[in-house]
Symmetry: C2
Subunit: 478 residues, 2 copies
């Protein structure tokens, strides 16, 4: 147990995760089992993440819209694989306005059903394509083993739904949005990810290809951080999205869908957090710097707090989100701990001695490094540190992941080591039987078949049959 | 019927409203009766409105958070008046994860129940106060007479929920947020509003005071555009929000709640729309200017479209949200009509003759005024017009409302005229019986007792008894 009432990662990783969320005041469990209350510090991170994603969606030509929460049972059951995948997880409304409903309504577990059936009305000609729409929404999936942010009964997400004239265009869209996700993961969240395709057994129900970004958490487990699906013509056929093509013939559209959720906050926590709490990447931190004035007595308090506010004004002018912690009932040490737990990138300590020498003390949350800096340079130093810290966090996470990534040609070796975590690149023959065997033997799955890497033909590490292409990643996952 | 397949307001106001929404491609009905699909043009307006509101919430010290959609029945039924008011309108989830639930879950019709019960856990001491939280969310209320944007079964809104140490502070918050709403209505939506308090019979269930902003639509009916509630200690007592005060004694907190919804888009349509479609205030327009190049044949198309894109680049550099409509399968006239229906504040026409003379034609949507402007001045002219149009729309709407606002001392006169619309300031004795009589006689209600105005004692216009204070507004309402 660390000094902050947080179990260390070494003691109990799962408990550490929960403790860190509580200590950082990010979220808590709601009265309905599996539901989550996202508190202001957690939601502030989500808001910034939303903005970064939304800006990129718009830059790539998408518009936002909003489709309803409630979907008639008859609509949701149209695409067979889709309904098999989702119906058992659905929450069902049977009563409304003091009456029993004639037809039960499903709370959307995802919106393909309602959106595709609407697109069918909007699309008549190839001139109506592409349709490039995103929505920010809540969805509900009945979760049996809920964990804050990672798996909750209700979660917040965005879901993009597009329809295209050709399969090439749809496939291009699928990869474009996967690239957007990878960019946000790496350049905003500082979470390195591997882009690839899921195997058939791990695909989104109804998709012909599910692409994903996979990150490694600090316990060596994989976390699927975002998915982008090529739905082929499956949903267009189920929901009658037909259009007159350039050749005058009626044909079915090609559709895609792609989403990321509040689960990304779990990824940030488990990538960057340490035994003192979370560490928030500067680009997402609701506060990037907190100035803690150190004072004794009321008179000194007024003076030092005014100085602290002046430093904050300098920081804001330099483009840094900053605040002064001028609370008078807490000791400086208590404030230091609180902002450490919350993962604020930089703390400024400023007391009478600092004032006398014309300096302030800057402490980095990511490395723990302390610097004594002239007051006139505090703002510019911290503004520069934001970039340094952001880049440093990504580099550190990438090095950490790469150290736990292995090329493995010995299945017994894999079996003995996968429990300790890590990504294992093994050759795979492509047969579902080998996936099942791995899962039964080790609980590990194929996280993805990466896009980047060299073709590396040889014998399947599991069964010895011929294997071609890039080696998939095998790992245990959240 | 106008040339755009929109019924005129004079022909059928209610039909006009629906036609305009369809013609502007803002929203449509969903498969579930009463639910709404908000299309990109409508959602784009909502996004800008959200941003303007959210910025002001943050400037006044509020943080965003997120509370769950699903609320256990036992929680929602704790505040008596509240549950009486809302329970009959609730959608109820009885099944989840393929099982019948032990306790039914209500989809939030509003979040006082879940938020107040959570605050009870967060608040222990006066030092924990105030709590100033807002959430952006969807809510569901079973509507029997749905109308797009105005009354839908599911709608999008924000709901602020605050808790305070004293009633004075809570009352100040209630008015502060009402002022924020009035500011956004007038300076962003260009919709003039009157601030005031509801009478007891029109209060939010459980509130001790409901304040509101009331706007007048073009049919002379009132629309409640936002409410801010003083909940006194009612919810704190029902949900046990207790804290240790500065004097060491345990006491109940004072809470408030306040909200505006996608209904505001209905207010914009019915304040500014005309028989050609909607008119969007420049501050909310997803596109503020659309440049329509006029060309014949492919060669000229390329040239004129390139010029149009150059004008758009100038406009963007001048801070105007602009796009060129370079579609080659539509005639210029069809494009003009389309953007008129959508209410884009300014259109730029640019053809070969304009090119030869070095000019472009600018047409204002609000007044229909056309201007011929040198190409070099197009961007600066339009940037300036954004302010002019915004102010002009507010002034026009205010003049329109003021012309239909009457001081009335003759109940028979009121009865004969209220059906034509308008706000009637009559003296009121304060008795609910008089409100009921007015409602039974005319379907009109007291919209609010305005904050601004002179005390004007005299005889109640309805019953003749003594009446004091500012005259309430009587009107029919949405």
């Amino acid at each position: 147990m660390s000094r902050r009432q947080i179990k260390t990662r070494a003691e109990d990783y799962s408990r550490w995760y929960q403790d860190v969320i509580a200590a950082a005041d990010m979220a808590e469990h709601a009265p309905v089992r599996g539901c989550m209350i996202i508190k202001p510090w957690g939601y502030g991170i989500w808001e910034r993440l939303q903005r970064e994603l939304d800006d990129r969606f718009k830059e790539t030509g998408h518009e936002n819209a909003y489709f309803p929460l409630l979907v008639p049972k008859s609509l949701i059951t149209k695409e067979e694989e889709h309904v098999e995948g989702f119906a058992p997880e659905c929450a069902i409304v049977t009563h409304g306005g003091d009456k029993e409903l004639e037809e039960p309504l499903y709370i959307r577990p995802t919106s393909e059903a309602i959106i595709c059936s609407t697109y069918a009305k909007w699309i008549n000609s190839w001139r109506d394509l592409p349709i490039l729409i995103n929505q920010w929404a809540n969805v509900v999936r009945w979760e049996m083993r809920p964990r804050l942010f990672l798996r909750t009964l209700e979660f917040l997400w965005q879901e993009g739904h597009t329809a295209h004239e050709t399969h090439d265009e749809a496939a291009e869209e699928v990869r474009r949005m996967l690239d957007v996700y990878a960019d946000v993961a790496e350049s905003v969240m500082a979470v390195p990810v591997i882009k690839g395709s899921k195997t058939a057994s791990e695909r989104f129900p109804g998709a012909i290809d599910t692409t994903c970004i996979e990150a490694m958490m600090q316990d060596g487990k994989a976390l699927q951080a975002g998915t982008s699906h090529d739905l082929g013509q499956n949903f267009a056929k189920a929901y009658d999205i037909e259009f007159q093509g350039r050749d005058g013939e009626m044909q079915h559209a090609w559709s895609t869908s792609w989403g990321v959720s509040t689960r990304l906050i779990g990824a940030i926590i488990m990538t960057h957090g340490d035994d003192d709490g979370i560490v928030v990447p500067p680009m997402l931190a609701p506060q990037q710097a907190v100035v803690v004035p150190i004072f004794k007595g009321e008179e000194q308090a007024a003076e030092m707090c005014a100085d602290a506010e002046a430093i904050v004004a300098d920081l804001r002018a330099a483009g840094v989100r900053a605040k002064a912690d001028t609370r008078d009932h807490l000791r400086p040490g208590a404030k230091f701990f609180e902002w450490e737990k919350k993962g604020v990138p930089v703390r400024v300590e400023y007391g009478a001695r600092d004032k006398a020498s014309g300096n302030a003390v800057i402490k980095r949350r990511d490395t723990g490094e302390k610097m004594i800096v002239p007051l006139t340079e505090v703002a510019s130093t911290i503004a520069g540190l934001m970039t340094t810290i952001q880049a440093g966090m990504l580099a550190k996470a990438r090095a950490w992941r790469d150290e736990r990534t292995f090329v493995c040609d010995d299945y017994d070796d894999f079996k003995s080591r996968v429990g300790d975590g890590g990504f294992f690149h093994m050759r795979w023959c492509g047969e579902a039987a080998c996936e099942t065997r791995v899962k039964d033997d080790t609980k590990a799955t194929i996280r993805c078949i990466p896009y980047e890497g060299d073709d590396d033909p040889g014998a399947c590490t599991i069964c010895g049959a011929d294997a071609t292409g890039i080696r998939p990643i095998f790992a245990r996952a959240y």
